[in-house]
Structure formats: structure tokens, C-alpha cells
């Protein structure tokens, strides 16, 4: 503290201020006060409020409420609606995170290794990240329209081409029409996509991956520039001849910090997915509630149906997931980030 005071007083200060340290301290508090007040009211207070409300049967417009203990949480873990919600969220996260990480990494590795066109591919793959997800979901909905959508039109065209169709369904090699997905689609009729509970959640996942992998690609491209070149030469001397060996021994470990970050941010984004489900499956969350993800449940229960207690309990659960994820990331990063 004395060294600090000395450094402050060493600089000549306007004479009007007898105590520059006090002056600085006052200015600092005046400058941080708005931010601090807003953090407390907009971020911290709602977290506490959600926690408190999750033990009540409050609804907006009611003058009073009752404390209901753990009823809301019990409901979440016993009722089938919420079991579906947790399952849909789990499937979504467990599908979207690895696939958009894998595709992002794959795209980054390919783009980094091609001679020409790298800038083009990078720009193209990043486009969905910039585009309004709501608008693009509506476009996907049109594309998946059972009769006028481009997807089923394409399938129809393939089915009508005996040669191509035979090749793709392996029927040319003696397989039965039932053996492949395409074979079944061509014989038994085209899928109705969004109306089919077997496809509903898959489509939501697909749009999530389509939209997000370019973001991971950019992070991995940045990470790849940080891999020391001489490590590859060293690995080759040590006998890592194949590209796969070099990737396994050098690239992948060097990308460790990037991967930890990518996994965390993709997880948090995946947990927050809402737009796609709201457009495609509102109200209800899809055929058989198969795409009833958490953010959509918070919206539908807590806000549309005014069941604030349940909505708050889901919010708390959500926050717990996100906090755990972030804390795990921070732990791993602190331990690992320095080894590269």
C-alpha cells in the first residue's frame, strides 16, 4: 500500500486536490457504481429470485403465493413431460456438441491444408453463424415441406432414376429395397420430416450443427496457427509417419485448450437452443414432445402458461448445468493451458 501511495503521489497533481489517493478512489467508485448496481439488479438478483420462486406456486397477477417446498423439483423429476424435456435436451446437447466440434475441426484441418480456396471455404462455412437463426429455420422448414420442399423433390428425383437409385440403395448389388434408408423411402413413400417424431429432434439437431460448426471452425483455425511447426518435424523423426499419427501426437494435444473452450461454449449454446424449436414445434414441442428442450420449456411453462414456480425450477436446473460446465472448463484450463 505504501509503494502504491508513493507512486500515486510521485506524479504531480493539481493543487486543488489535497489527497490524490482519495480523489482517485472516489472517482473509481463513481465510475464502477453504475456497472455494479446493474450487475446486482439485472444479473445477480434474478438468479436469487429464480431460486426463491422455484419453491413457490407463484403466478404473475396473483396477489399471494404459497411455499411448496421441493414440489416443483419433484414434478420435474417424476412427471413424464419433464422427463421428455430432460431427454430431449440431453440428446440435443450430446448430438450437437460432438458433431459440431468434429465438423468444425475437420473443416479447419482441411481448409488449412488446401492450397487454394481456403478463404472461400472459410467465408462460406461462417455464413450460417451470422445469419438470423429464426429466418434460416423458416427456410429449412420450407425445404423440408413434404410436397413442395426441395429435400423431398430431390429424393423424388433420385428415386425416379433407376440407375442412380439402384446404386445408392445398393439394389444394384443385390440388396433388398428394405435394406437401406433410401430404399425404404423410395418404396414406402417420402418422409414427412417435421410431422414425424422419429425425425423431429434430429432435424432440430441438424439445424443446430449446420448453424454452429463454422464458429468452431474459426476457433480451430486460430488454434492451428498456434501449433509449433517444428513439433511436426520432431514427431516425424520419432517415427510418426502417417498423417493420422502426426495429428494424434502433435495437432490434437496442441489444440487442447481450444478444444476445452469449444466444448464449453458449444455446450452452453446447445443448452440455450430455443429459436428452432419455437418456430418448428410451437406450441407443444414437437410430435410426442420429442423436441421439448429446456429453454422452450421455460418459455412455455413459466411465461406462456404463467406457471412461474415450475419455470423457475427449470431455470435453476439450467443454471446449475451451465455453472458446472463453466467451472469444469476453468479447472481444466488452469491445469492444461500451459503445456502446449
Amino acid at each position: 500500500m505504501t509503494a502504491l501511495a508513493a507512486s500515486v503521489t510521485a506524479a504531480p497533481m493539481p493543487a486543488a486536490h489535497a489527497n490524490p489517493e482519495l480523489r482517485q478512489s472516489r472517482a473509481a467508485w463513481a465510475m464502477t457504481a453504475p456497472a455494479l448496481a446493474l450487475m446486482l439488479t439485472i444479473l445477480v438478483a434474478p438468479v436469487l429470485l429464480a431460486f426463491g420462486l422455484s419453491f413457490t406456486d407463484y403466478s404473475l397477477g396473483n396477489p399471494s403465493f404459497n411455499w411448496v417446498g421441493f414440489d416443483n423439483y419433484e414434478r420435474i423429476f417424476t412427471r413424464s413431460t419433464y422427463a421428455k424435456m430432460l431427454w430431449a435436451t440431453f440428446v440435443y446437447v450430446i448430438t450437437v456438441v460432438p458433431l459440431s466440434l468434429g465438423l468444425g475441426l475437420g473443416a479447419a484441418l482441411l481448409i488449412q491444408s488446401v492450397g487454394r480456396g481456403a478463404a472461400f471455404y472459410k467465408a462460406v462455412y461462417f455464413l450460417p453463424v451470422m445469419a438470423t437463426l429464426l429466418a434460416m429455420t423458416i427456410v429449412w422448414q420450407l425445404m423440408l415441406h413434404p410436397s413442395i420442399g426441395v429435400v423431398n423433390r430431390t429424393l423424388e428425383a433420385i428415386c425416379a432414376q433407376p440407375a442412380l437409385h439402384g446404386l445408392l440403395t445398393l439394389q444394384a448389388f443385390g440388396a433388398s429395397p428394405q435394406a437401406t434408408w433410401l430404399g425404404r423411402v423410395c418404396t414406402e413413400g417420402l418422409p414427412v420430416w417435421l410431422g414425424d417424431r422419429d425425425y423431429a429432434l434430429g432435424i432440430v439437431c441438424f439445424i443446430g450443427i449446420w448453424q454452429g460448426f463454422g464458429f468452431n471452425m474459426v476457433l480451430y483455425l486460430a488454434g492451428l496457427t498456434g501449433v509449433p511447426r517444428d513439433l511436426y518435424a520432431a514427431a516425424e523423426l520419432d517415427g510418426a509417419r502417417s498423417a493420422w499419427e502426426r495429428f494424434r501426437l502433435v495437432t490434437w494435444p496442441a489444440l487442447g485448450p481450444t478444444t476445452v473452450f469449444v466444448v464449453t461454449i458449444t455446450c452452453i449454446r446447445a443448452f440455450q437452443s430455443f429459436d428452432t424449436v419455437e418456430v418448428l414445434f410451437s406450441p407443444g414441442g414437437g410430435p410426442g414432445k420429442s423436441a421439448y428442450v429446456m429453454m422452450f420449456a421455460i418459455y412455455e411453462k413459466g411465461i406462456s402458461q404463467n406457471l412461474v414456480g415450475i419455470g423457475a425450477a427449470i431455470t435453476v436446473l439450467f443454471l446449475v448445468f451451465v455453472m458446472i460446465l463453466t467451472l469444469i472448463q476453468r479447472r481444466i484450463t488452469e491445469r492444461k493451458v500451459h503445456y502446449a
Binding site: 473509481a28 465510475m31 464502477t32 456497472a35 450487475m39 444479473l43 451470422m130 464458429f215 461454449i265 421455460i298
Partner: protein, 327 residues
């Protein structure tokens, strides 16, 4: 196989994979733009190629609204008494249909702006994203400056608070924030659209990290000139931080232009407050499925400005959007 031809082959294979990926990524954009150019008939039948045939078409809604009425018929009868009523009616209808004939492009984009107040939605989008960014800066810059350049009791605690708030995704706590705003009677106002985003822990964190790299001498010199601490923030620190600020602006504007979840919650029914995604969603929900052309035209109008800006300044946009990766 020689080494060179092996190299050529693997290069070719890589491009094949990357092009296939590009095809899937670009397909929705192509469908969106192509559909926005076609006539309803072409969309229905899947004909017309990418641009549509652009054959003149009758705007049925316009024809319906201007269909000849009783007094039109009377006037026509007076002007041309030799014809039967049926013939007159036919001629009048043909006239109206003639007047209502347009090209598919004009029909789609015209309906996008006339069926719903799309201009208003776009304006709201600009107002909301602009105010959010401006207020974020007004709150974050002084705080970031204090946390990086001023020494005061409690600084570590305040910074710890910023780090803690970085953990809280605002979308996740939308329900309690919404309840608070509803209690204050603020739903369906611009304030409700802006308030939750005014505080950006990430913005404070980012600008603090940036200000740490600004030499102390610059600040000391400004103090010697008699500048107040607040004046130092706006007149000394802000100009040095333009690149970081630009990156953050892109991050903030893109996120809030595209945001649908929050506006959906706090704006219910009041169309004059709709942001572009809300407007498009209402258009989609309200149409009976025959208006794909105008719907895709609306989508194009909402999506394309950001995409064009991105293609013009790719580096800056990628830096801005992936800012959260630089933590």
C-alpha cells in the same frame, strides 16, 4: 503412382469434401433467395430454375380488393349501353386484372413491405441494437477504466463480481427478469427490449483487458493537463480502444439483431415494437402457406444486410463474433 499425382489426387479429394460441405451450408441461402424471386405457381410446381421465369403474374389479393362493384357496372353501362351486363363485367374484371399484373419479384418484395410494416421492424431493429450497444459502452467503459487504471479499495471485489457475472447467461434468467419488468409495467416497451442487455460483464472484462495494455504515461499526462477521470475515459482511452470497440460492436449488434428469444418474451402483440425476427415469425405464423414468396423476401431482407457486411469485412466480423473465444 508418383508422389506428385498422389498429391494432386488428395488435393482433389479435399476440395470435393469441402465443396460438398459448402453445398449443404449454402443450400438454405439459395432456396431463400430463389424462392423470393419466384411466382406462387413456380414455387408450387418447383419450376423456373433459380431466378424464376419472371412471367407477369396477377396479384390475386389486389384483384380481389379492386373487383368491379355495382356502381362500376352502372357507370360502364351508361358509357357503353350496347353490351350485356355479363360482357361488361368480363371487360371490367379483365381491366382490373391488367392493372394488378406485376412481376413475381415485385410481388414478393412488394408484399413483404406492404402486408406487414417491415420497414418499421427494421427501424426497431436498428433502434434496439443501437441503444443496446451505446448503453453497454456508457456503462462498461468507465468501469473498465477504473478496474484497469485506478487503484481503490474494493477493486478486486468488483472485478471478482465481473468474473462471476460472466458465468450467467442472460437468456437463462429471462423468466425472473421478465417478472421484474412486468411488475414495473415495462413489458411492451423499448425499455424492456434494451434493459437486460445494458450491462455486459463481457464488455467490461474485454475493455479492461484492453485498457491494461494502454501505457500509464498516457493517463498521467492527461491528468497533468487537468483532465477529470471521466474526461480521460472518453477523450484519451476511448480513441485508443477503437479496434477493440469495433470488434465488440460487431459482437453485440449481430447477437441482438438476430436475437429472437428475448423480444418474443417481452413484446406480446404490439406490432409497432416488433424487431425483425418477431415480424418474420408473425408473417410465417399468419400465412396460410401460400405466401412463401413474400415470406422468403422478408427473410432475405432481414438476413442479407448482415451477410453483406460480413462478406465486405470478414476479418473484423470473425474477430468480433469469436471475441468470446479470446477470454
Amino acid at each position: 503412382m508418383t508422389r506428385a499425382s498422389q498429391f494432386r489426387l488428395s488435393e482433389l479429394l479435399k476440395h470435393a469434401v469441402l465443396l460438398l460441405g459448402a453445398l449443404v451450408v449454402l443450400a438454405p441461402f439459395a432456396v431463400m433467395i430463389s424462392t423470393s424471386l419466384k411466382s406462387p405457381g413456380e414455387i408450387e410446381r418447383g419450376t423456373g430454375g433459380f431466378f424464376g421465369a419472371q412471367a407477369p403474374m396477377v396479384n390475386e389479393r389486389c384483384a380481389m380488393a379492386n373487383a368491379p362493384r355495382r356502381d362500376d357496372l352502372d357507370a360502364a353501362r351508361a358509357a357503353d349501353p350496347g353490351l350485356t351486363d355479363a360482357r361488361l363485367m368480363e371487360a371490367l374484371t379483365a381491366e382490373v386484372r391488367e392493372a394488378c399484373t406485376t412481376s413475381p419479384i415485385a410481388f414478393n418484395y412488394g408484399s413483404a413491405f406492404s402486408e406487414a410494416p417491415l420497414l418499421r421492424y427494421l427501424l426497431n431493429g436498428v433502434i434496439v441494437t443501437g441503444s443496446i450497444f451505446l448503453l453497454q459502452m456508457i456503462v462498461a467503459l468507465p468501469a473498465a477504466y477504473a478496474l484497469s487504471k485506478l487503484r481503490f479499495w474494493g477493486r478486486d471485489a468488483v472485478f471478482g463480481m465481473v468474473l462471476f457475472c460472466l458465468l450467467i447467461p442472460v437468456h437463462a434468467i429471462a423468466l425472473p427478469i421478465y417478472l421484474g419488468l412486468a411488475k414495473m409495467g415495462l413489458t411492451n416497451t423499448y425499455a424492456a427490449l434494451v434493459i437486460p442487455w445494458v450491462i455486459s460483464a463481457f464488455g467490461i472484462f474485454l475493455m479492461r483487458q484492453f485498457f491494461m495494455t494502454v501505457p500509464d504515461d498516457l493517463v498521467d499526462a492527461a491528468r497533468m493537463d487537468g483532465m477529470s477521470e471521466l474526461a480521460i475515459v472518453w477523450r484519451v482511452m476511448l480513441p485508443t480502444a477503437i479496434p477493440a470497440l469495433l470488434a465488440f460492436a460487431i459482437f453485440s449488434v449481430v447477437a441482438h439483431w438476430n436475437d429472437y428469444f428475448w423480444p418474443r418474451i417481452v413484446v406480446t402483440g404490439d406490432r409497432s415494437l416488433f424487431t425483425p425476427p418477431l415480424g418474420l415469425r408473425e408473417f410465417q405464423a399468419g400465412s396460410d402457406g401460400n405466401l412463401y414468396g413474400p415470406m422468403m423476401a422478408t427473410a432475405t431482407v432481414i438476413v442479407v444486410p448482415l451477410l453483406v457486411a460480413f462478406l465486405l469485412a470478414q476479418r473484423r466480423f470473425i474477430d468480433g463474433i469469436t471475441l468470446s473465444g479470446m477470454k
